[in-house]
Structure formats: structure tokens, C-alpha cells
Amino acid sequence: MKEFDIEKLERKNIYKVPDNLFENIQEKVINDVKATKKAPIFKLNWAYAAAASLALIFGATFVINQNDDSTKEAGNSGATYAVNTQAPKTESEIAYEILKSDLTSVEKNNQTVVNQNTKSFVSQDVETKEVPTPKTVKPVSKKTETQMNEYLDSFSNSEISELASNSTQDVYLDLYN
């Protein structure tokens, strides 16, 4: 071809076009527009975001510090446990301690009754100004206590241990056995 002027050529679209091209495009675009409208758009406000971040940091720091304190406390209690962990006692020692504590508790109970009675009499005292004497319960006398000790001393360690095993233990004591 010697001479050719592009301006004289007819402007044509030569490409194949699928059926319902624009209907399909419009439908898809409108669907997308509707979906976008339904979905709320969250616009990030930097001031709120910064405030929220600070609150989160302080909150987290507070919680972590609290945990540290409780850990320290736990550590201390652990130390207490460590102190309590002593060499295991022999059977006879345990039996002796149990008996001793039983006797002590009996003594204390009697004293408590005395104290209670005393208290009640003290309260009456305020009204009557008379000093009453306890009548119903008497504390264990020193004589009886000495007799009891002598009696116990007459037992051998194994006998005391046997006695202790027959006695009813406080359930909480099992924790330390």
C-alpha cells in the first residue's frame, strides 16, 4: 500500500461482545452498591483510638502489677510452708502431741466455760454489784493434772502410741500426717 490516511478510515469496534453485557455489569455493580450501603462503615477516629490504646496499656499494667503482688504473697506463704516443713516426727512423738493437745483442749474448754460464766457474772455484776462464784464447772486442779502426768509417764512410748491410734483424730489433722 503506497498511500494511507488513517483519518479516512471508518471508526469501528471489531471485538466480539457477549450478550447482555451491560445488564450483567449493571446488576453486579448495583448489588455491590447495596452491599456497601448495608455494611456500616467504621471510620477510625484517631483521638478515640489513642485514648482506647492508653486505657488498654494502663489497664494491662494494673492487672500485671496485681498479679505480681499476689505472686509475691503466694511466695511468702510458700515460705511459710517451707518453714512448716520439718523433719517427720516419730510415731511416739505424734501420739504424745495428740494426747497433750487433747488434754489441753479439755482444760481450755473448762476454762472457757469459766470465762463465759465469769463474763455473764460480770455483766450481772454491773447490775447487782455482787461477785458470784462459779458453781457448775470447775477447772482441772493442779493436783489432778499432776496425777494425770504421772499416770502418763508410767506408759511406755509404744503404749502411748497405741492409745493415740485408738483415739479419734480431728479430720483436719490428717492434712499434716
Partner: protein, 183 residues
């Protein structure tokens, strides 16, 4: 009756009538934009997707549209950017040993209708052989008859540069057709 740009803009700016506005916008510009995109991309399915994306972007970013430019200029700008992005994606996916010009000519042959004239197919091949900017300028001026001032806003080039580009593009195309036309 063809709806005017001012009406489309009013519809688009009101959230209650936005959907109607999008429909009006598509009715008014879908054909022009489709062919603009199709001539850049050539592939039919990809051109369809790109046009969809163009309208969605236009809807999503309509608040950025300033009345100091014409609506179609703004739409052409979005469509051109979307189309060029697709072309760049295709180039990245393309095999390194394949000649891009040869690839585009194959695409033209595959997409051309069976009754297309040989000279028209040659013209499309010649357009695909042009550098990117010359191609864009030539297509917008030759097919869409857009004024240089508007093309300048779309591709961010001065009017003088556009005129020069169009002149060179036209020369190259005529040379190409002269060389390859068999009749």
C-alpha cells in the same frame, strides 16, 4: 431522554438517591467506557470486570469528585487507571520469553469478530505496538474524539505533549499498516 451530568451528580450526592444515580451514570457512560477499556485490555472478560470496578470505584469515591472537571473526564481517569493496572498485572504474569507485542496481537486475533475487516485488525495491532502513553492519547483522540484539554486532565500531560504524541502515534500506525496490509 438522556439524563444530563448535572442531574447524575445531584442524584449521586444524595445518599437516598445514590443508587438511582449509579444507574443513571452507567446508562450514560457504560458504552463509551467499555470500549475505552476494551481497546486497552483487548480481553473481553477482563474488560467487563474492569468496567464494573470502575463504576464501583466511582460510587465509592464520588465525594472526591469536584465539579471543576467534567464527569466523563473523571470517569475516564478512573477507567484508564483501572485498565492500566490490569495490563500491568498481565505483563507480570506473562512468560518472560514471550514478546509482549506478539502476545497482544494474538489477543487481538482471538477477540476480533469473524467478520472484522483486515485493515481494522491491522489498525488494532498497530495500536498495540505503540508505547503506553501514545496508545492512550491516540485512542482517546481518534475513537472518543476527546479534546486535548480533557485528555490532558485524564493522563496528566500537557496539551503540547499530547499533540506531539498523537502525531507520532498516527505516523507509526500508518507506517505499520502500509507495511503489513496485503491488498
Amino acid at each position: 431522554m438522556k439524563i444530563k451530568d448535572a442531574e447524575i451528580i445531584t442524584l449521586m450526592q444524595n445518599p437516598r438517591t445514590q443508587e438511582k444515580g449509579v444507574r443513571a451514570l452507567m446508562d450514560a457512560y457504560q458504552s463509551r467506557l467499555y470500549w475505552h477499556i476494551r481497546r486497552i485490555i483487548v480481553d473481553g472478560d477482563l474488560a467487563q470486570d474492569t468496567l464494573q470496578e470502575t463504576f464501583i470505584k466511582a460510587y465509592q469515591n464520588f465525594h472526591q469528585f469536584k465539579n471543576d472537571s467534567q464527569l466523563y473526564t473523571w470517569l475516564y481517569r478512573i477507567a484508564t487507571n483501572e485498565a492500566l493496572q490490569q495490563v500491568n498485572k498481565l505483563k507480570k504474569m506473562q512468560k518472560t520469553d514471550e514478546d509482549p507485542e506478539y502476545h497482544m496481537q494474538n489477543l487481538v486475533a482471538d477477540n476480533a469478530s469473524s467478520d472484522a475487516e483486515e485493515i481494522q485488525v491491522l489498525l488494532q495491532n498497530a495500536i498495540q505496538s505503540l508505547p503506553e502513553k501514545q496508545k492512550l492519547v491516540f485512542m482517546m483522540r481518534y475513537y472518543d474524539d476527546l479534546p486535548y484539554e480533557e485528555i490532558s486532565k485524564i493522563v496528566d500531560m500537557s496539551v503540547g505533549t499530547l499533540k506531539t504524541n498523537y502525531h507520532y502515534a498516527k505516523q507509526k500506525i500508518e507506517e505499520y499498516i502500509k507495511e503489513n496490509y496485503e491488498k
